[in-house]
Symmetry: C2
Subunit: 340 residues, 2 copies
């Protein structure tokens, strides 16, 4: 079967060369990401390779066993959990994890693609970002599969991705608070332009409605998922007699900001204020008090994404979306509403 594949591969390359009006070595140069090919020729050959569905067979002997994880923001507190997940599956497959930073969420730095084509990893795990059409095509032509870890819930329909259940997470966090008797429940969700923020907010609304509670627009805020944003919104929310008795903070970092605002306002957590985070990054259990939060299975998501890359049925062609479940983890930052 391998021989058949190789044979059909060669026939495809010859066809592509003929149709593009170039030599086989030129097609080969395009496949290897060499720079001594004109832009026009490269584009033409890539389009034809795509049309003919050419997939280079994995040449395990010549290809270094790397799995590449690409961040646009290595600063993220999530990064380590995701790296661990990729590393776990890489190790099972005796591969090494290579770590690169892309330029922005939408366009990698210009040197990134030639580097990947030269390194020829078994596959690329993109964190939280998308790639321009021509780069996806070049990766496909080089038979380097691509999977996106997308906790933001906004997948490129063209690329397999792993996300998690944001709406259900928002619902679980808020129900926990209403079940404890809280009626004035505030939410600080993420940025307005991220689907995961909207899904968590809608989960909050549904939980409030299920508990027969009105939502108050003054208690619903958009943050940016970072500590300072949680602190500032909470300083404002906790100012005045009509303050909420509970805050669903949208992220663990925002929850840390809420804890600090409570301290500054002289409120005890959980006696005077209940706080729920989101993500369950390691520091959630180290805060004082330890955070009740929604566990987002980041490591597991990274493992699944890496497995999708390595599956024999070329994941580059079968577009897939997996959403892993979230679950509430109750620690010590939430308590039953005290008689007010």
């Amino acid at each position: 079967m391998h021989d058949d594949d190789e044979m059909s591969g060669r026939i495809t390359l010859a066809t592509v060369a003929k149709e593009a009006g170039v030599s086989m070595p030129t097609v080969s140069k395009v496949l290897n990401g060499r720079s001594d090919v004109s832009r026009t020729t490269r584009a033409k050959v890539e389009r034809l390779l795509d049309v003919h569905g050419y997939r280079r067979r994995t040449q395990s002997a010549s290809r270094s066993p790397l799995i590449e994880i690409v961040f646009h923001e290595l600063e993220s507190i999530w990064a380590m959990e995701l790296i661990r997940g990729v590393e776990n599956v890489a190790k099972e497959n005796r591969a090494t994890v290579a770590l690169t930073e892309s330029g922005t969420r939408h366009t990698p730095a210009p040197e990134w693609l030639p580097g990947v084509l030269q390194r020829r990893p078994l596959g690329v795990v993109l964190v939280f970002s998308t790639l321009p059409e021509d780069i996806k095509r070049q990766l496909r032509a080089a038979a380097i599969p691509l999977v996106v870890i997308d906790p933001a819930g906004d997948p490129d329909p063209d690329v397999p991705s792993v996300g998690s259940a944001n709406w259900a997470g928002g619902l679980a966090a808020t129900r926990h608070l209403t079940d404890l008797g809280h009626e004035r429940v505030a939410i600080i969700t993420g940025p307005e332009d991220m689907l995961c923020s909207l899904a968590r907010l809608d989960g909050y609304r549904s939980a409030m409605a299920m508990a027969g509670l009105e939502t108050d627009p003054r208690l619903m805020r958009f943050g940016d998922f970072h500590v300072q944003s949680g602190f500032e919104h909470a300083m404002d929310l906790l100012n005045g007699p009509d303050r909420p008795t509970a805050v669903f903070a949208g992220s663990d970092l925002q929850a840390l900001g809420v804890l600090e605002a409570a301290r500054v306002r002289g409120l005890r957590v959980p006696e005077d204020l209940s706080v729920v985070g989101y993500d369950d990054v390691p520091l959630a259990q180290w805060s004082s008090p330890p955070l009740t939060t929604v566990h987002q299975p980041l490591r597991h998501m990274a493992e699944e994404a890496t497995r999708m890359l390595l599956r024999p049925d070329d994941p580059g062609t079968a577009t897939q979306r997996i959403e892993l479940a979230t679950r509430l983890v109750v620690r010590q930052s939430t308590a039953r509403l005290q008689g007010v």
Copy 2:
């Protein structure tokens, strides 16, 4: 000059082959980490390569531009800072960071060495660990330089390393507390078998002596640098009327444990208890209250280590030790002693 080097390299290889009584291709196999060479032959050839001071020239065309960072504990909260440092310098040099986990602090997993020899990185940054003699020799023979990031302050004299000033850090943390008027100052340092723990403890003792204060053995504890250990020691230290008014917690994670113990014991930080951490990992500024701590320049240490690898004057031969300065960062977990 490059030609001369290459020429002298070939002459060395011929000499080694002759002295070892093997063919040039066999020497070549040893250099490339191939497995089809007997243990005895490999050992003999490696010893001779070492004796003759053979260093393979960097062949940038054939070698993939990887810099490898090796952790024995990817769980560490420090990992991300160190990865960022290596990534910064890798990017300047258009190299990619590969991340591997070694087995233990003293012996990498058996598949690690063949993998490195096959990947042929520009160099290897080891975090917090040492390598057995024969592995160091094989890396030297393959001209893969090695540098250790060693915040523990216990360097292998054989390998270049980057550490930081632990004694000075312990002194600065404790002086800050005695300057604020604290006399009953406790310390929870790290494990008794790590030089960095002992250096920080000695810095504490000197600061106490400089302030004319007695040290109380009941206030001096060995922890393991993790949150739980800080929590448990602090629960014990803060129990009873004779409690300390300040704790130098030895690490940021232990400091988080102390904050939680203070909360459980009903003590306010910093009004009733001052707490100083060590490391200044990102979460130190997000705790409630934000931690006063000793900044250990982890990212800068990783940058320096990576630069040492890439320096033209073969760092594999010139053994070097660099210690970077630590500095106190005052935030909100420390305050002047209130009238007792």
